[in-house]
Symmetry: C2
Subunit: 242 residues, 2 copies
DNA sequence: CGAGAGTTTTCATCTATACATTATTGGTCG
DNA sequence: CGACCAATAATGTATAGATGAAAACTCTCG
């Protein structure tokens, strides 16, 4: 795979323009706040139509690299926040990627009556839910304990799903589209119950991931996952988001 | 905030089309795998040109909501992975958002000779770096200890920066554009040094964030941040990325 | 000299069209 | 009956032109 001519790879014109401008920004040649040429100028520069330039610039603007204003021209955005694409892979894939055998066991599966949670100032009503507590193993040693609520109003199909062999996470991913999710990641000490399930001593550090998923206004599921701190970590890779 | 007329807000046509299709997918009306109308059909449906439809659909495809294939048509993507935009806010902002007073103190600032790290199979050379160890406080109680290497080859301006009052993180954000970053998040037990710095007991759970940032092939900085587990957590919000 | 109105520049969007690309489909021929 | 090939239908890319909107500039008038 020896790339003989590694220059300007993207086949399409707007992708090439985009890549070139992006490179000039990321290399530091164009600093934050700098104004870059008008569409008409670039149109001459690349000898193409304005629509093509526009497509490239719109794409850069969509990723937040540049700021476009009518009349005021286009300028390089100042790097604001550390933001990017985080991918949280499946636990199963993660375990198997490390060469271990994945095991899953549901230890509790019951219906929970409707309840209210208090989020900040306003109470939020949540309907009847199916509650599944499961333990995930890597090579017979427990790695993760997961408490999951699935709200049956929002996900009616979940009432019939069989979670004895298939974890609810993947099932939900495959069956239910979601629009928003929120994660809270924290380090906690293992409480007695957790310690017993994960076969560690009380007080050992664990990684807590609380995940809440919505579709529109409706809460689909809430999951609390507690990982053995010494057996798991999350990695997030950031890039200029394609 | 009673939205009186909540219909199709986006002003521009392609944004309206996009929003409409997106809504139909997210509401569950269109399920994963379903095929949606061809561009020509939608062009008649919205009585606009195909380019406009194309723009809307291309945008949806870019966010991964739909899959487009030539000849085979467009279909709703099956929700693959939990991926989205993660925002890691500034520590300072985070602390001040909770009403606490932010404090910063550099406890070590020295030059480190070039070194090699071993990443997987290949060794990677890293040039001379400036090493800054700092402690961040919330209301006079230490919350975070940060070990940061800044590689002077890649960031020459860092040699003269004054990190006694300004933390290196924000300084870097404001001065250096980056192209890629990788984070590793884990729960660890406080070692003796960490425990002493954070004024907690040895073994208490802490949240570890290792962050490595590149520009192109060049490593800009490596940061190891250890947060008091009981005083800090990360939150990530996911959405259909605009 | 200053404020406001008008003009110009520049980006934003939409339309219509043309051609390229590619996977499916179906037909033909061995 | 199966393998290959051509027609076809869908998306992908690019062009040119028209229209609109908003901000900055300029000019005039008080």
């Amino acid at each position: 795979m020896h790339d003989h001519a590694p220059d300007t790879r993207p086949a399409t014109l707007h992708a090439r323009i985009r890549a070139e401008v992006e490179a000039r920004i990321l290399s530091g040649e164009l600093k934050p706040g700098d104004r870059l040429p008008t569409e008409t100028e670039m149109m001459a520069r690349y000898s193409c139509s304005r629509m093509t330039v526009n497509k490239a610039m719109a794409s850069l603007a969509a990723t937040g690299l540049i700021i476009r204003n009518r009349r005021a021209g286009t300028s390089v955005a100042r790097p604001k926040m550390h933001a990017g694409v985080l991918t949280i892979p499946d636990i199963r894939a993660n375990i198997e990627a490390r060469g271990a055998r994945y095991g899953y066991q549901a230890v509790l599966d019951e219906l929970r009556p409707p309840c209210c949670v208090h989020l900040g100032s306003e109470g939020h009503h949540l309907g009847q839910s199916r509650f599944v507590r499961s333990i995930h193993h890597a090579d017979d040693s427990p790695v993760l304990i997961e408490d999951r609520h699935i709200f049956l109003d929002a996900v009616p199909g979940a009432a019939e799903a069989d979670f004895r062999t298939e974890p609810p996470g993947p099932w939900l991913l495959g069956h239910v589209p979601w629009t928003e999710a929120e994660h809270r990641i924290a380090a906690i000490a293992a409480d007695p119950l957790t310690a017993r399930c994960l076969e560690i001593s009380i007080g050992m550090p664990c990684l807590l991931v609380e995940r809440r998923t919505w579709r529109g206004e409706e809460t689909l599921t809430i999951a609390k996952q507690v990982f053995r701190g010494d057996a798991f970590d999350l990695t997030a890779r950031f890039g200029p988001s394609s």
